[in-house]
Amino acid sequence: MSALETISSFVEGAPPGELADVIADIKALTVADPGLVSQLGPAFEKYNEEQFSTVRLPGSTQPIIVSSHSSLGNGRYYDVESSTSFEYDHATQKASGAQSYVLEGAQADLTKSTLKSLSPYVKEHFPNAAYGVYPIENDSKVAIIVVANKYSPNNFWNGRWRSLYIFDPSSGALEGSLKVDVHYYEDGNVRLLTSKSVTTSISSGTGAGIVKEMGNAERKYQEELNRGFTSLSEGAFKALRRQLPVTRQKIEWDKVASYRVGQDIGGGSSRR
């Protein structure tokens, strides 16, 4: 792996809300070759588009998503709800050069009706989220994105929820992927990474129908995830190490030599 590939993989692996910290570390590790960091442009672009980075346009409070689905090329992206396009600096994560952008084409109505249903759904279930709907693949399909971030660096944790759905109006198929990324790093480094794919169909083909199905899929997924925590805690975690020995008492260390005789109680020493 070249040095550039190595530092690009560090950028790609940056936890939610910690890209700036990762970049600072990379800079300190590459002081001898300052030209390296300036070549990270493609890595930043990949990070921002895959992580659905959000940006606020000058004079606006609404966060807008940066993704490959809202890209116009040449570093410009657009947002349907605010009818705006803008230039995005992937290194500084800032927007500039906002212009009016009017959505036209075969999926414009579906895009706008989906947005209209999506807005109240997102407000009901995500305390801090951005969302967007975009016609894709030559106006043949629609992409729907929700990204929710919660950063609490003072308490050493950060988290991100990402939903991406692709709706195909010709078949009514809705395919999605749901991802959660949580990082906890007080005197340690603990990471939750999840990924779930969703396949369903929307018979009505309407924006309201799409959002209703999204809501069902996400509620079901979150319930599964909560069960997953319980199952790992009650299953694998307990099976790895007991909280106390079977006797429910701590070891009497001054008598530990005599334990060897009675060790058969524990089931033998070669079991693994």
């Binding site: 560090f10 959660v180 906890y184 939750l192 997953g228 975690f237 790895l240 020995p245 701590k250 020493s269």
Partner: protein, 283 residues
């Protein structure tokens, strides 16, 4: 900030990047900054490797503390594998980095004691204890490892869980008048994952480190081992509770903070109603 220390930056990076792949990140960092190789290898804990002792047939764990060049010392036989050539690289007494006779005798007893501990708490797995001499006492590392593949009991077909636990307890036991001062640094590396059709992939991995210092009387070798045993046992209990809290409490809470299963506006109305109720009761 312009001149942050590269070593601190490397450690900071390892605290941020996916802890499931610490070994890979460590290799990347070493290739990026070869000057840091020794410092990083001696201060970053990685999941332990297992090797079978050729003399006794028992498994033991490998770490930087039982390594001499490319060879590792078995705690069961005290022999290096592969055997060290005469005057092997970096060795202290010609026979490789082995503890003095007195400290080796304690090491043997400690390995027996922690083998019992391993069976009682882990009901499987592998343990190894390595001691070495200090000018004013001795030091050591207690290693425990267990891995498993686990089928979820209430299983839907095709669902499976995996887990691995690595404990690395490094201590110093320093002679003081009438007492021994113990400094213990403990790291647990815990990796858990599960997948099923409904859940998809879920991975919960990481490591946590804690330190304590304590002075205890130790008048015999047996008492030394009992002190170390108690310190490690208490620390592991504390860390197991902490891991439980972070992995299954904190991480789950953050997911709930990102997305609310219930309706936020209803939750807001409920909170408002409760506030009014409490307010009216106070009046």
């Amino acid at each position: 900030m312009a001149s942050a220390d590269p070593f601190d930056s490397a450690l900071d990076l390892l605290r941020r990047l996916n802890p499931k792949h610490t070994t890979k990140h460590l290799q990347s960092l070493i290739s990026l900054a070869p000057d840091l190789t020794e410092d990083l290898l001696s201060s970053v804990d990685q999941p332990l490797s297992v090797r079978r002792c050729k003399q006794t047939g028992r498994d033991y764990l490998l770490c930087d503390y039982n390594r001499d060049g490319d060879s590792y010392r078995s705690p069961w036989s005290n022999e290096f594998d592969p055997p060290l050539g005469s005057g092997g690289a970096g060795s202290e007494g010609g026979g490789g980095a082995t503890p003095s006779e007195k400290v080796r005798r304690m090491e043997v007893k400690a390995n027996e004691a922690f083998d019992v501990y391993r069976e009682l708490y882990y009901e499987g797995g592998v343990s190894s204890v390595y001691f070495w001499n200090l000018d004013d006492g001795f030091a050591g590392v207690v290693l425990l490892k267990k891995g498993l593949t686990y089928d979820v009991p209430e299983a839907k077909p095709g669902s499976a869980s995996e887990g691995s636990w690595d404990s690395i307890h490094v201590f110093e036991a320093i002679d003081r008048a009438r007492m021994t001062q113990y400094n213990l640094t403990s790291t647990v590396i815990l990796s858990l994952s599960t997948n099923s059709s409904g859940l998809g992939e879920m991975d919960l991995s990481g490591n946590m480190t804690r330190q304590i210092e304590q002075e205890l009387p130790a008048e015999s070798d047996e008492q030394q081992i009992a002190n170390i045993g108690k310190l490690v046992e208490d620390m592991e209990l504390k860390m197991r509770n902490l891991l439980q809290e972070v992995y299954f409490g904190k991480a789950k809470d953050v997911v709930g903070d990102l997305r609310s299963v219930g309706s936020l506006s209803e939750a807001g109305r409920d909170r408002e109603a409760q506030r009014e109720l409490i307010g009216s009761m106070r009046r």
